[in-house]
């Protein structure tokens, strides 16, 4: 029963590979015989119904089929590209805010400078700017010297 289930899975994997190859035209594999005697046959692996299936052999078959379809067995997520100059811009924004908190006032020129620095930031860095700036405005450590918005 278990052997039949495994063989069924292998047949499904090979059939998927065949269909993808046939559609793509790159990998022509003859249709697998669906008879009880020979379930799967390609140039490297033969599995007969009722045989105990070696898990390593099964993994190898699936890997080969995926490779023929041009798909990696397990796609790794792409790492985010660091924005060029993001660290320098972040340091500049942080230094500006800290300096103005020490002085207690925030001017329109400060806002413009911050906007310029923030143009190169990542999400986490922009969040850190907000996390520093807004509490300082809320608790009065920093006051705007112009009517308008700080960011």
């Amino acid at each position: 029963m278990r052997g039949e289930l495994v063989v069924g899975l292998v047949a499904a994997a090979i059939a998927a590979g065949y269909c993808a190859g046939a559609l793509g035209g790159a990998h022509a594999v003859p249709p697998a015989s669906m008879g009880r005697e020979r379930v799967v046959h390609d140039t490297t692996h033969v599995i007969h119904a009722g045989d105990a299936v070696d898990p390593a052999q099964l993994r190898a078959i699936v890997r080969e089929e995926l490779a023929l379809r041009g798909e990696p067995a397990q796609a790794a997520p792409a790492a985010p590209e660091p924005a060029p100059g993001a660290e320098a811009a972040f340091a500049r924004a942080g230094a500006l805010i800290e300096d103005r908190i020490a002085k207690g006032t925030w001017s329109r020129a400060d806002r413009d400078e911050l906007r310029e620095a923030m143009a190169g930031l990542r999400q986490d860095q922009a969040d850190e700017v907000a996390r520093t700036l807004f509490p300082a405005l809320n608790d009065g450590r920093l006051r705007l010297d112009y009517p308008g918005l700080p960011l």
């Binding site: 990542r122 907000a130 960011l151």
Partner: protein, 127 residues
Amino acid sequence: MKQLACALFALVASAAAVHAGARYTNGVSVNTTSRSGGGPLAAARADGSTHTNIQIEAYGTNSYVGAYVLITDPAGVFAYCWTNNPGLTQLLAAASNDAQVFVYWDTTGQCTNVYVTNDSGLAPKAP
């Protein structure tokens, strides 16, 4: 004849009043203890105090998005709350001139709840 005209005018005027629809006035409030505040944008502009206002700014680049709200009540008590949540940013950015905006924030100043209400009973923003 004059009396009849006056009676007819009163009748028409009262009928118009009955069919005017619900109208009410909400003010702008800030509560720094419960960390909540807001009100209708139109009411903020119409308020007699020069302090009162509600300002919303959404900001972003190709790398980040965010938004913040500044609410100042008639007494000059104010609070900012900000968010980096794309959904809340979208809500705040969608607030129309006649909308009512009410927000809650946490101890770090981040918005936790955002309510943007469009209501025919609220006064429209006047010049």
